[in-house]
């Protein structure tokens, strides 16, 4: 399957239904969010998961017949077929409120630097790897994107096209 294909294939529910060995299963995707971020599996009860291109997983709140030949199906959600699975910024903004572990909360100036794409030194005594990054907005913590924490540093994973120098 090439990355420019417009064919979305639904993830198999479990291992037993898997035909493509490299393809993640729905169970693995839901487990990943539960184990890494503490997002309850029932959060995704109404959603289907789809792969288009190797390892690009999409989340869709609908149930079309698989495969479906379209340009977009819901939103990009997760990158698999690599050593460490990586959630997208969009997935974290949409579902990150449910996260309870591996969540790092930034102060305002740190959040602005993160969105501008800057890496920053940060004390963090939790797991290394991909973190849900939050900051306060309208009085509550709000998930802003994905950071990669390694070697005492929070590396901004905000895609180039989404980076901003915010007005404040």
């Amino acid at each position: 399957m090439s990355n420019d294909s417009t064919t979305f294939t639904r993830l198999p529910a479990t291992d037993a239904e898997r035909e493509d060995e490299g393809r993640a299963t729905r169970a693995e995707v839901v487990d990943f969010w539960a184990e890494r971020f503490g997002v309850p599996p029932e959060t995704f009860a109404d959603y289907t998961f789809w792969e288009r291109g190797a390892g690009k997983i999409w989340v869709y709140r609908g149930d079309p017949p698989s495969p479906v030949d379209v340009e977009g199906l819901g939103m990009t959600f997760l990158r698999t077929r690599q050593e460490h699975w990586k959630p997208t910024l969009e997935a974290v903004q949409r579902f990150g409120h449910h996260a309870t572990t591996n969540v790092v909360h930034l102060e305002e100036n740190e959040a602005e630097a993160f969105v501008a794409g800057h890496d920053q030194e940060l004390d963090w005594d939790g797991d290394w790897g991909y973190l849900v990054v939050t900051h306060d907005l309208a009085g509550d913590p709000e998930p802003v994107g994905v950071g990669l924490y390694v070697y005492g540093e929070l590396r901004s994973q905000v895609p180039k096209g989404r980076r901003r120098e915010l007005d404040g």
Binding site: T6, D46, Y47, V59, Y60, R61, G62, P64, P65, V68, D69, V70, E71, G72, L73, G74, M75, T76, E90, Q93, R94, V115, L137, A138, G139, E142, V144, G161, R162, R164, E165, L166, D167, G168
Partner: protein, 302 residues
Amino acid sequence: MEPPDRYRPIVDDFEAFREACERPLPSVVRVNTIKASVADVRQALAEADITADPVDWHDRVLVLPEDPPGNNWPYFHGWIHGQEEVSAVPATVLDPQPGERVWDACAAPGSKTTQLAALMDDRGEVVASDNNLGRISALRSNTERLGATSVAVTHEDARNHSLSPFGGATYDRALVDVPCSCEGTIRKNPDAFDDWSLSHVQGVAGVQKGILARAVQATDPGGTVVYSTCTFAPEENEAVLDHVLGEEDCELVDYDLPLTHRPGVTEWQDEAFDPSVTRAKRIYPHHNDTGGFFCAKLEVTG
């Protein structure tokens, strides 16, 4: 004769209309209720010292009189989307319900698509089509930023819309916000009249007829189709409705719109249209201090 002068016979207070066309519009944003409440957005904008004024006809539309809409925290989080005030009309008139299947025939760049998904509480299915891959990329990026998970995007000419990717399923409602000569956007795009030509108006009207006809065919009997343009030309508005009323199983229905407006016109130059086109609404820049717009609601009868 070119716009706006050609509309002198159908626009009341023509001088006020012409003057309004020359005034710029303020930034307007729509609150994306998929991700945030109106109260959250107002608080977040206040925290950023951005003035946001409500409008009296739509509780999810805010005017930012002093700031561009796109460089603040609420925008980055997908809590707001820059969208001209009258552009919020057609999805509101379509009134899609959670769980329904809706087609957005000319969807890019996605302001109305994401508004439909929000009105449906992001539950159901919005099939969003466009025939231009570059604009589809803008549609996809807006869909993602606004967190709409119920939108499927297809690349096709809406006149030949295929139901096959979704197993042949038809729609409960369709939004037909067609490509047009864009005269109503003159306040935002001061060059909108520069490339105007009657032949373009006539050519695009043919496309509009084909798209509206396909939308009526793809919608279930009893379902709703909303037709809208951001232009004043009767050739692209009432004449398109008149044509499709004659060709497809549908009728125009009344609806409420709490913005000052005028009814569709039944005569233009040497043409007369079906009397029911008066149920369509014309929105002029000088009545509500907005852009110009045209919006009609149809019920599928066949």
